[in-house]
Subunit: 348 residues, 2 copies
């Protein structure tokens, strides 16, 4: 069953309609304490139904919070006819989603993303998970929310850095969509959030992801296109973290996108007429990447240990043009230093 995605400027009313259509015997809400405070006034469900407020933050997306969610579902006497509503960012939809997917072998769920990244990535497509032994999403399941309710209104309360971090994934979706959509995003002013202007950009971005996910729900092929920017991005993110100067995930993805578009230009003819404006937008929104040529060896080692790598090669998604990905490309290690040089030249 494909996911139903509802785009709305009236979150409370739309969510009420979605729940009525599911005819549940009970509704329970999983959120985190930050969301409860920030989004509570927009979403009466947070106070009208039993609500579990998790400790916020990726570092709490772990087994102990998963078992806490299971225990709470038991306390609420949740049955196979209960609907779980996950209201929050990626941490909530990932962990609440896994709790719902595994409690009594799966309760129905509805996702209400409250961050940009949650809306365009985590809440849609059925990936759930927790971190385990420090490994990201090491334990998880593919389990689709029946419905996702997307509104830009809750996003308007987010700080700039978080908005921009999520916007990087929208740039990625633009690159996977078309030159037209990429241009629209490069001309778009993402911050501060104007909910009316944002909703159609969210919709286009989610539709790109949804189209890819529907063609490959369990990540055996086409879905790997969504890794665009992430091989290099993850390496930059991990390296910055290990240096004690963490960068937001989306910032690292933005720099990764530029680098992988450089590689796409060199190896697959991705047009420089798109590469330059992309780099210019990334420079103005995210600033320069925190790397020097002294970091290249470490970055290369991290890329070789990426989970997409099967036997130590460097594996990327490349693009011949916007909307035309080349999956599972093995990149010779010798090509990375020049590409990173160009990244640093373009964004300094």
């Amino acid at each position: 069953m494909p996911q139903r995605i509802h785009y709305t400027s009236d979150l409370a009313t739309t969510l009420e309609g979605v729940l009525n259509a599911l005819s549940p015997r009970g509704v329970v809400v999983i959120t985190d304490s930050n969301v409860l405070q920030a989004v509570g006034p927009l979403c009466p469900l947070l106070t009208s139904q039993p609500c579990l407020a998790l400790d916020p933050g990726e570092e709490n997306k772990d087994l102990s919070h998963l078992t806490a969610a299971w225990d709470w579902l038991e306390d609420q006497h949740a049955t196979r006819d209960t609907v779980v509503v996950n209201i929050g960012g990626g941490m909530v939809t990932d962990l609440g989603g896994l709790a719902a997917a595994t409690f009594k072998r799966g309760l129905r769920m509805v996702n209400v993303p409250t961050t940009v990244l949650g809306a365009v990535d985590a809440a849609v497509g059925g990936k759930t998970g927790i971190n385990y032994h420090g490994l990201k999403n090491e334990i998880g399941a593919f389990a689709m929310a029946t419905d996702v309710v997307v509104s830009a209104t809750p996003l308007a309360t987010l700080p700039r850095q978080q908005v921009l971090s999520g916007f990087a994934e929208m740039l990625k979706h633009g690159l996977l969509s078309s030159a037209d959509e990429l241009h629209r995003l490069l001309e778009f002013d993402p911050y501060p959030i104007d909910p009316e202007g944002w909703l159609p950009r969210l919709q286009t971005s989610i539709e790109v992801k949804q189209r890819i996910v529907e063609s490959d729900p369990h990540e055996h092929g086409a879905r790997r296109a969504l890794n665009l920017g992430h091989t290099v991005g993850h390496a930059i993110e991990s390296h910055a973290l290990s240096q004690g100067h963490p960068v937001p995930h989306g910032y690292a993805v933005a720099w990764g996108l530029v680098t992988e578009c450089v590689l796409s230009h060199l190896r697959a003819g991705f047009p420089s007429s798109l590469l330059y404006p992309l780099a210019s937008t990334v420079r103005s929104l995210y600033g320069p990447p925190p790397i020097t040529c002294d970091d290249y060896d470490t970055l290369l080692a991290l890329m070789r240990h990426d989970k997409k790598s099967h036997h130590g090669e460097i594996n990327c998604t490349l693009l011949t043009s916007p909307g035309t990905p080349l999956l599972d490309q093995d990149i010779p290690a010798t090509e990375l230093p020049p590409a990173l040089d160009i990244l640093r030249d373009l964004i300094q």
Copy 2:
């Protein structure tokens, strides 16, 4: 993707072919220490590949053994290209299946059942799970093994009680199939196991289950037919356990099948010409149920708390005839004592 079920008298060769066809980058085996000892000589894979031998028994189908399986998969550097082979009874295919289904959001798996119940029930159909806070299969997922390799050879080492316990589920499948298949089973001598005679009976039984599961993978409708015998059976099993005289699950199901066929006769015209031979077979294989009329109140209370019951009514699957189930029937509590009286009259 439907499950591929392979029926074979040469387990080792068939399993080898199945694994070759999956082209895994690695194969790991999950089993239990009893199976390792009993089935090892039949199945070279148990010694040729990395193998996790769980502590045997339903009481170990818990979160601590699930996390042990996750940890072991990490130690083996399992990736999304690894295939997990679960070799064992229901405990192994349930827990190993859940571990595989949730590790990195799902590895491919192959099930090799080594018990009758495992073959005709647990290994087929995609239900995985662990017990949690004493609740059976409270945490789990629907995740299909790509292949199930069924051989009667490993079953020949099982003790009589365990064979008969599994055979009760085959009687259930016969009742859900046709009068012809039911007659074949009632005339079949299940113990001691003759692998050649058993393999076609296993195949027919599994095909009944598979047909029902394929029409309803997530237990929203038709799959509830498989609850036949289990509302009354679970109550007898729980009561016997609480009295300190546990009975094998299948024995309780056999008595439950007779009772629910009595109800089916009284309420839905299930023919007495089939009820009597069924009761006669159940009497000769399983003996009388360990209940008196003093136990009826307790049994009724247990049935009201069954997970199929939504608001305290007694919910059963009934049959108008073999192969024609009536799902989700609410039975007035007043009808149970006469049906249990008839059960005890038929089987004494």
